[in-house]
Symmetry: C2
Subunit: 193 residues, 2 copies
Amino acid sequence: MTKIVIVDDHPVVREGLVAALDRKNGVEVAGVFGSAEEALGARVNADVIILDLELPGLGGLDAIAKFSAPVLVLTAYGTDEDIDRALEAGAKGYLLKGAPLDDIERAIEVVARGDAYLDPRVTTRVIRPRQRLSEREREVLRLVSAGNSNKEIAKKLRITERTAKFHVTSIFNKLGAENRAQAVAIAAEKHLI
Amino acid sequence: MTKIVIVDDHPVVREGLVAALDRKNGVEVAGVFGSAEEALGARVNADVIILDLELPGLGGLDAIAKFSAPVLVLTAYGTDEDIDRALEAGAKGYLLKGAPLDDIERAIEVVARGDAYLDPRVTTRVIRPRQRLSEREREVLRLVSAGNSNKEIAKKLRITERTAKFHVTSIFNKLGAENRAQAVAIAAEKHLI
DNA sequence: GAGGGCACTGCCCATAAGTACAGGTCCTCT
DNA sequence: AGAGGACCTGTACTTATGGGCAGTGCCCTC
């Protein structure tokens, strides 16, 4: 009997998962929570945690490492950044909302026995090494998105305008953008900002 | 007995809605579909259509007007543009995914009797008049997001560079941006692109 | 028929952006 | 010790951007 704990702030999603998993043999829903804090506080003994990344309060990404049971992420977006951080944090599975129920059930089995499961749409991103932005570059990108000029960025980060330009150029190279407008668009699309 | 048709491409969401509504008195789920085409083709007699906006094939926004029964939109994003277009297309209700089951049930009742229901998070946006971009401006904004210079935009739209600049400036004014990077960020945040 | 919104265009100008060259210091991992 | 990465800086250059001022024409509504 595989014990499942569900952590998702969407009532409809919780309902759907419970309904689907209750029907299935060998699986038992041991707890359903709307936030990571509740789930962690309940200290339920589970074999698999199904965890949404967008949660009120403690975000799913930060919660992953706090669970002792293997975590199967089930979330709406599969952005490079989310996936990277979730897997780095120790998630054993990554599913996108909208996945067929069969896939969800298979993922639970796989994760429960200690293996890893990735949604096919996620796998594509994982096998292709991405150009991750450095901490500084993300900072600069954030300022660019807010409409700051290189001079303003320089002032805020206490560096010279030349260095600000340098970071901006690095961002272009990594994102494959030709100018700030496109960089912001790409970043938004990848949910980097 | 209120007859409901559910149109959503997420299996988990479909499952959740069916489970929740089956429990409720006076409500009957008369059909569940994964796309607008299927739902329209089935010609089920319904009192309320629960419709997701992000659908494969025919998008939810375009599908709204094609249903004869009142449509209750249930979607993940509540962006100004989506809301505007959905309401213009004739949606009678607008709920965000993540809404409590009670709200969903209330919305169904309200919509079924011909009134309108808005998610509280949506209402805020509706009562505040927004600066909507013109068709041309959205076109220009799209090109700006793709990294095009004013000259390139001019060429692609067969106008002069001066006119491209003019549109870009109008976009800045309406969005409250100071430059293209910020405009793209704001547009992305409002899901205008 | 007089607005009002939208689309379009001209000239001019100061500043910002983006890129080319070339270099430097840290820190970490091997 | 050496390699690689992130981070930082300089000079010099071309081009793009954003905005001011001024004006035209179209279409739709009141």
